[in-house]
Subunit: 146 residues, 10 copies
């Protein structure tokens, strides 16, 4: 049983039960982005949440240890073609250097961690058309000198 | 005079005067990410802001029309090596599919616009180490059927 | 059942019945380009049209929800070799910058949307040899400043 | 004197005189897309139009023969990053196979020529926001059998 | 049944019967290069020739319509490694610009069509070692101005 | 003085004198394709022809030894974008495997040499539009076994 | 004055004075790997060390602020050809997965930081031939769940 | 039976028995990095250790000769996306030139061997957060002159 | 039955019988490099040797014609990662231009044939460690002028 | 003064004096391949030979230390197009796996060193056309186990 097998089982259970990612996330007591990523096998899920998920989606017991394994995160290194994801890369291409400049201005030399990190996707009502809001938060890590 | 020439002049003026991007943005009455991107030539700057910038940074008059031109936005299509920018791409690689799933769950088939779009970089105090917060907001565009 | 499965079923039904894409499009009350793209799984099909398609092509009921799913649009990022499609890319290579210049001249800084978009392929009679006419129409999106 | 030199001279003359591409095209008695492409050196310009251009933009006499030379058309083979041009490639990625299917349905095996070809960019008024209309027309070329 | 299936059946029939490509081409009343390309599925075969091929090679009736379909021509875009084919690419690398210069000198701006095109491979006796002769013939297509 | 310098001088002399490649080739007693390739520095030119060329084009004496040097032949390994040259690569993509099959059928295992090789570009009159004829001839080289 | 300019000045000063990287590092009170990387502009140098360096190498005063700037770290993303550096990449290719497995076995899911990181290169005497010893030390960062 | 088959059997046995790589390495009398690499098929395992492994993990007898075979070491030549492994490549990108400079300073022209090579991964306790320590040791090989 | 099938059968027979490539080559009366390449399907094997191989390895009769077919030689065009093969490419990278310079100095403009070519791998005893000796011999082919 | 500067000076001196690489190698008491590679800056030259070279070619004194520096060896990682060098890569593609198999058969697991390595290019007379002989010799390095 691989993380891909478990992901397929979660998707099937979700379709059958009509649950949403938001609902599933609430059941686990976690956020929706993290919940989706952990169910799809991109991040490891602590045993406690894995047990809840197995119960909620009626997965086989073995799925607990599979969900808890440290994944080897792989993705296509060419920029994705799907327009919904491509736009996110376009934003990085247009504004990446500006983000770097502002991080250095506010914090000094270092980076925003992608490990000690969290992220939210929200819907904001707007009379001219609703807007997608994405919020990221990562710990600032300063460079060590030695 | 090209957008690169103007960018170099702005950087020199900024270094000499000790202004920050935040300060410059305030003078223009715009946000810091947009201000940096427009000064670096990645987005076009409306004439009004361009005039203020020319006054503030003591740029030659011709810079107004150069800042206002529609740029040809180019960037390296390989994922950047700079660790501060790379982490942003890593986040897209790990969580991109999750963002897509949640956008579709909340809005239906469509995308977050990267054109009708804005973005902020903030510093959040945290006892375990301050955090970088990035907030993006883009209009949702549904697919047309015809 | 995946979008690829449904695409294969549509192609088989189309071959057996002798329908054309134009005819199928008329039955759905939609345009031929959109109809082909939706049947092949490149765009999502609203439930109403999906129901008509399922009836017309005698597809299993489950196909309705599969056709309605938001697809992950993927294509090969290298320029295609098929001469019929390659010529379209060659046109973009030769005239792409000219199109950009004229869009900016007529509209200002912004883009033609590929989401709020439609397209037609027509046959134009011509004594020196008939001609292929392609018409595209996309909403103009101006850049937001903030 | 190269085609790039002439392109730079045309751009400078155009900026100075305030002419538009549409206006320049009218002076030459040609279409705007072709006029831009020929001025930028992407296509060769017949001597008659070249002479008019030289007169209109006050270019040196030698520019006539440079404009008339057969260019070596080169462009970057990776998909361009500029959002205005990228959207055109995205359209080809999403709808390219549909265009091919419809060309074959209407004409048989063959291609739309990119050589015996013309193209227009128009602005269409629309209460929900004006639209960019692109019209392409190319001779259909059937495959020879031998 | 796909074009690849038919290609495999033709190869098997050819091996069993000991026919050559030259012999098969004569039976179809076509040239050997075209015959090989059509049997391998790279070009579409008119119904008349397809019927003869089906009779000669004892293929199932359905193969006629498969042979007649418009193929999607795909090939590897990296230069092939097989030495026999690589040499042809090397020739294009060394002499391609010379061919272009001579085509323009003899015809003006335009191209040799690869659609209205035919090609022959011959064996020429030579006391110092026999030679391979390749003859290509394509219609000249002049660029349209508009 | 490099081969590129000499190529530029030949082009300038040719433009000034109004010579064609065909005429230049006749003066050297060689073929036009070879003459162009040697003048452009893609193949080395024997001293005798180099002396004639230097006399005809009024080049400096040193050009003789530069023309005679063994060149390092380099070209871009991505398929060229220029439509006139691209079509030649497309022909290799569509018919390359057919050429290989026929060479093996007529000669056995081996290749057409690209070194002991010659090539001609001709104009063939045709009532439906003149045709470009390309003729290549290369020695067959059988594989050695040892 | 750029970081590349300063790097060139340090190399020239080092050559003239006969200093080694080890000696220079000692003067700065830092380690040799960090000293080399900071002098070459790959990492930012705190003002204190920058002042000492400027004094030791007799650099212009402006170099202090240049050395202290946050660099944009760029390197070629293809694996380097230089054999001394290539071997380090080969080691990652052969043993990378083993390092990942052992880090997870000893620490759980997370990574070795490349920011809170230090590294040493030592010479170890060995009767069969001296050995290069490389020691890396990076803080372990566990994945955040949210 | 291939090296991949044996690797899968070892992983299954390890999971079932609860052994760690450290424990398995101790049983073989070898180091953990080498043990993992040899079990995964990246390096060949001498017969003696292979016999012990077969006994410990209860593998079929044939596994001994498979483990002892010389592997063809292959890995993806693009930089890996998994963050734990990516950081190691980032370190090479940032500090690779510094390592080369120090190796030449300490040893002269030559390289650290990746063949006569060994490597260790350790956990170092640290009040600010434990650290990963990686130690590599490779024989220095000077360039031969001849 | 393909060349890959035959290669697998030869490898199995070789493993079972304990033959070496040197021994097999002797049986065929050919050299070891050629024998390995022909058994693996990279070069075509004349019928006589194919018959001997079929007898020696107890292969099915059909293998004779498969071994005799002209192969399509394909290999990965990225430089291989296996260290044993990579070193050969590194040698070409470091000394390739030197080999070209010496071939031209000794023979004039032309190449070493890779078709009329043979190669040997020998073990040379050496007190400081035995050495691998590789000997290649290819016919010199001068460029044709025409 | 860089290694490229020195290479240019050596080439100029060689042209002027009419020396060959073989002659220059003899003067230095070294082999021709190494001499060419060292003069072109691909390998470092010991001081003694560098002094002789400086005397023979009448180079400035500073060239001695430049020739002695450890070079950063770089080459294009795409397979070269020059036919004389390409054939060497083709040989590696066709026979690389055979060389690996024979090295392992004769020596066990390990590689031929490209550092402790030497190489010769010879002309062998042959009635059917002279042959290029290339001889490589590299120390065998067995893999370390630990």
């Amino acid at each position: 049983m691989t993380k891909d097998d478990v992901a397929a089982m979660v998707l099937a259970a979700k379709k059958k039960s009509g649950m949403t990612w938001e609902g599933l996330a609430e059941t686990l007591g976690m956020s929706p982005v993290w919940t989706h990523a952990a169910c799809m096998g991109m991040v490891s899920m602590p045993e406690e949440q894995a047990r809840t998920l197995v119960r909620t989606c009626d997965l086989p017991e073995e799925a607990v240890s599979v969900l808890a394994e440290c994944p080897t995160k792989t993705w296509d290194q060419t920029v994705p073609t799907d327009p919904c994801i491509y736009r996110l890369y376009e934003i990085m291409g247009v504004y990446g250097a500006s983000m770097k400049a502002l991080i250095h201005e506010k914090f000094g030399d270092g980076i925003m961690s992608a490990i000690d990190f969290e992220m939210y996707v929200n819907r904001k009502q707007d009379p001219k058309g609703d807007r997608v809001e994405v919020v990221m938060s990562g710990k600032f890590l300063p460079y060590r000198t030695w």
